[in-house]
């Protein structure tokens, strides 16, 4: 109650509201207060100074001397860097986030195949250059044959295990960026083989397999396969390599 009172007072005075352990009742009241505060006409636009300052900060992060590599060949270099860094630097590189107790010995990506020599090439990979290994499930939650959605930092995706192979793919349709939903495996019916779980796009109905391959679509051009995410298993945790949550 006291925490809520202080929270509301901070909100009204446009200060950063201080944290407190809210029960669901307090959360309801806080939500309502936020709705009312956000309802002040004209209150919701960013300050020009803020927009400029953030742009400067991003420029420091993103502009040369750390150029953004173009898609394609640059990704190999980037991956090589990641691999090396992860193996040698382990804990330091992965920033400690979510890495508690994780040995580096088991670190590397069961899921992402080396670039294949054949023409088709592997599915694209989604490799943040400043990432962290985040736990997205326990091993028990991803038994053989399971597909499980996760959200980790900036990335939404699905982890799965098939034939012992752990995989993680992006959960965003490669056509227009809609978020895929998980269609549970079809029941084994009379004369029908069991249908594996599929990732379905709500926008145009494209369907992907848990390993990212396109199963079905009705678009003019076949969308690309879902990007693979680096995934690993440490102890009893399933972790994916995703953009690092920003420090605060």
């Amino acid at each position: 109650m006291r925490g809520l009172t202080r929270y509301l007072e901070d909100l009204i005075r446009s200060r950063r509201p201080r944290r407190f352990a809210a029960d669901s009742d307090s959360a309801d009241l806080a939500r309502t207060a936020i709705t009312l505060r956000a309802g002040r006409p004209g209150s919701g636009d960013p300050r020009e100074e803020f927009v400029l300052a953030l742009r400067k900060r991003l420029a420091r992060e993103l502009d040369p001397p750390a150029p953004i590599p173009a898609a394609g060949q640059a990704s190999n270099g980037r991956r090589a860097f990641l691999r090396t860094a992860t193996v040698t630097g382990g804990v330091a590189v992965a920033g400690g986030a979510a890495l508690a107790g994780a040995g580096v010995e088991h670190a590397l990506s069961a899921g992402s195949p080396a670039p294949s020599p054949n023409g088709a090439g592997p599915p694209p990979e989604l490799l943040p250059d400043q990432g962290a290994w985040l736990t997205v499930a326990t091993s028990a939650q991803v038994p053989e044959g399971a597909v499980r959605p996760f959200t980790a930092g900036a990335v939404a995706g699905f982890v799965s295990r098939a034939e012992g192979q752990l995989r993680a793919v992006s959960g965003i349709c490669t056509h227009q960026g809609c978020r895929l939903s998980l269609a549970p495996p079809g029941a084994q019916g009379a004369g029908r083989p069991a249908k594996p779980a599929a990732l379905v796009c709500p926008c145009h109905g494209a369907t992907f397999a848990a390993d990212g391959a396109v199963l079905a679509h009705r678009l003019a051009i076949t969308p690309t396969a879902l990007p693979l995410l680096d995934v690993r298993e440490t102890g009893s945790d399933v972790q994916v390599y995703v953009p690092r949550p920003s420090a605060r």
Binding site: D10, G44, D45, L62, Q176
Partner: protein
């Protein structure tokens, strides 16, 4: 493999029409071919709505600025460009969603506010008409309240009056104003929940 069955056309998929039915508001401008060439284009075209969207869910500037910073700092470095604008927007919405979830986890320990699962719904709130959805939501709640409740909430949350000023304006004691505010907020919360349910 192709689908042969005809399906009802979905609600406008992201970016199906070049810039949507509404003229883009001030800082949001159409990007040639609806594709972003570099991070700066992504930033300039999206920073306003990202901030607006987060502001409607936290209700205060310091948190909205922190979260907007978090979203762009997390989203831009791994982004491969050039990329189609709708894809990038969907990615930003989903980054906002996770940033917001983390924010509540570390502050109140409850998911106080969330973003809609549907990217279009989230974008429609803030891109179509600048800031219109949030004032409407607040106005609808206030309109459904008894006079005294509405008065105290307007004084406090819209005008930003102190509890003493609000008490004076209503001709009641500070103690009574506190009680009135609490009851009014509770009622408003019930109304808000009902309206949200009606909206689906």
């Amino acid at each position: 493999m192709r689908f042969s069955r005809a399906t009802p056309s979905p609600a406008r998929p992201p970016g199906a029409a070049a810039t949507g039915p509404e003229p883009p508001p001030s800082r949001l401008r159409a990007v040639s071919g609806e594709e972003y060439a570099d991070w700066d284009a992504v930033y300039r075209d999206n920073v306003t709505w990202v901030y607006r969207l987060l502001f409607t869910r936290v209700g205060n500037r310091p948190d909205a600025e922190d979260l907007s910073t978090e979203v762009f700092m997390a989203a831009l470095p791994p982004l491969r460009l050039p990329a189609p604008a709708p894809v990038v927007r969907a990615y930003l919405v989903s980054t906002c969603r996770t940033a917001l979830a983390r924010h509540w986890k570390r502050t109140l320990g409850q998911q106080v506010t969330t973003l809609p699962d549907d990217v279009d719904a989230a974008l429609a709130e803030v891109r179509a008409e600048p800031g219109a959805a949030a004032p409407q939501r607040a106005a609808r709640i206030l309109a459904a309240l008894p006079e005294r409740y509405r008065a105290i909430l307007e004084l406090r949350f819209l005008d930003g009056s102190s509890i003493a000023e609000a008490a004076r304006a209503l001709g009641i004691s500070v103690g009574n104003a506190k009680v009135l505010q609490h009851r009014a907020l509770r009622r408003a919360s019930e109304v808000g929940a009902r309206l949200a349910a009606e909206e689906g």
